[in-house]
Amino acid sequence: MDFILLVMNSFGLLLDPLNLAYVVLGFVIGTIFAAIPGLTATLAMALLLPLTYTLNVETALMACASIYMAGMCGGSITATTINIPGAPSSMMTALDGYPMQQQGKGALALGHAAIGSMFGGAVGALLLIAVAPFVAELSLLVKTTGKFSLLAFALIVVVIAQRGRIPQAGLAACIGLMLATVGLDAMEPVTRFTFGNANLTAGVDLMPVIIGTFAIAEILVQARTPSDTTAATAAAGKHKLRRRDFIPPWSDIRRIGFRCYFKSCLIGYFVGTLPGAGGSMGSFLAYTEAVRTSPEPETFGKGNPQGIAASESANNAVCGGAMVPMLTFGIPGDPITAIMLGVLVINGIQPGPQLMSDQAGLIAPMLAALLFSAVVLIPLTLYAIGPYFIRIVSIRKDVLYAVIALLAVVGSYVATYSTFQMFMALAMGVLAFLLRRNGFPVITMLLGYILGPNLEEFLRRSLSLSNGNPLTFLTNPDSLFFVLLTLVFVYFLVIRKPADKAATPDGV
């Protein structure tokens, strides 16, 4: 209850013009990046990361929250208008959004997407605010061996969730773990894999890893992959979007039904709590459920607003869900929460049970901003800049990518004023580019890199405490729970092999 009150009080911070400006700016940037095919809110967040050094932590986290929310709903713009989802999480939205656009109801489809996003974002954020303190208390029960098994569970699930490319995902995770082992050992004064380079003694810094993986690699990918949206944009431009057309009639919302919205939100929220699942999985499951329970399933895929509502409610509810393991255990659920974790770590905040009790004052404004973005900024953005959405896609790509490259390279310099970090960002960018070109999911590499140090520390501590007996992971109840949970996931995702392969996690 105290935490809920703290979040409510944090809304006061939004009255500060500077905080409000960063939240609104973050939302607009997130929307633009999510709307442009090829760019993602993850990239926007990666570019913002260096700037968080100069902001106070509450403001930085509030801006991150608004980018996250905008990233989930912004993808629906191009999914609807030109049938190219700006973000993987809006893949299902395109199925019904684009047919509505073709029927001349594009504005209405975007309105339904905004209402679904608003509902999903709000429910996800409220559930997060209500649930996170309890999860944090529960996490106190997890001891050293349990912590190792939990981290191993998260990493294994992220790997096996990459159906059809598990060896690639496993190898990418190993590369992340390799990067995590560079530098001074956490428990003994021994340097590893530095090859005499003093710059590596403190390890590979988070900043170049994130900037390289998400910004520089993206620029290289875009240089190799043409994405000509000119024709589609011109076709979409024929349908003029007017502000009043964005507001869906109440009869439409009643037809979709509160039950559909709420069920999709819950699906999205719980999918969000799973490592590696992400918004696309959430929206796929919610869409499938909406089709399954609909009295007229044949209308889906032909412009049924219920499909849009289910997809968008779920993918925005993922935002709240994905933050639960990130805040309480330090386990990010997707690339964006991984970068948010980076913002926390850069500012000396260690996620975990103590975070919700000792430093709740730093986290509460972020959750308030998440709720504010969902309830206020989503509809406001649609109404204010909705008619100009299609122009976002027409932004000159050459200038855009040059700006991104400049921000990325200079951004990697900002943290330490060192050109070594710039070279590291370039090296990481080339590595991530090669991995992506060869079908390796870079999210598993990032997760391996982020979880690696704790994974190693808890493994060594657990085995030291048990005099080297590996059975300690089975004899401690908390650890056994996560071992069994891992086995359950392995059974369902690998051994049983679900028939549907349409839904893949966000494939970065």
């Binding site: 082992t181 290289l220 390279v409 200079v410 085995l463």
Partner: protein, 149 residues
Amino acid sequence: MFSNRQLIFPTAMLALSVGYLVSALSLGTPIAESGLTPSFFPMLVGAAAILFSSLLILQQLRAPEAPDRPRDAPGHAHLWIVLAIFLYILAFRTLGYLVSSTAFVFALIVLFSSFEKPAQKALIALVVVGLGYVMFQHLFGVRLPTPWG
């Protein structure tokens, strides 16, 4: 075996994994009387990486056809971009932010489009770099390098 282009990357990964494991072995024995040593975890990771890269190679050898890849743009723009970033970093401290960044942004705009209308593109590069200067130096208080130190 090596005529299959799909094998190049997994083989490089295997070489990297083997190199990593060998370096990990050089850190000493994995288990000592006091418990696990700093080489234990890297050895596990190296072994897992070798396992996964071997699996990948096997997978490629068994696969009759190469999997579909996204359509690529002709040319080697990505290689030029890597070179541009490398040169930019080298020049960043020496030439300072304004000069090096203007050249870099101009080069990237050209790489992502063409060499047509160079004056217009140079002007855009100047404006972008100027805005970047205001943002980094004045808004966020970052000390950007200048040629005079």
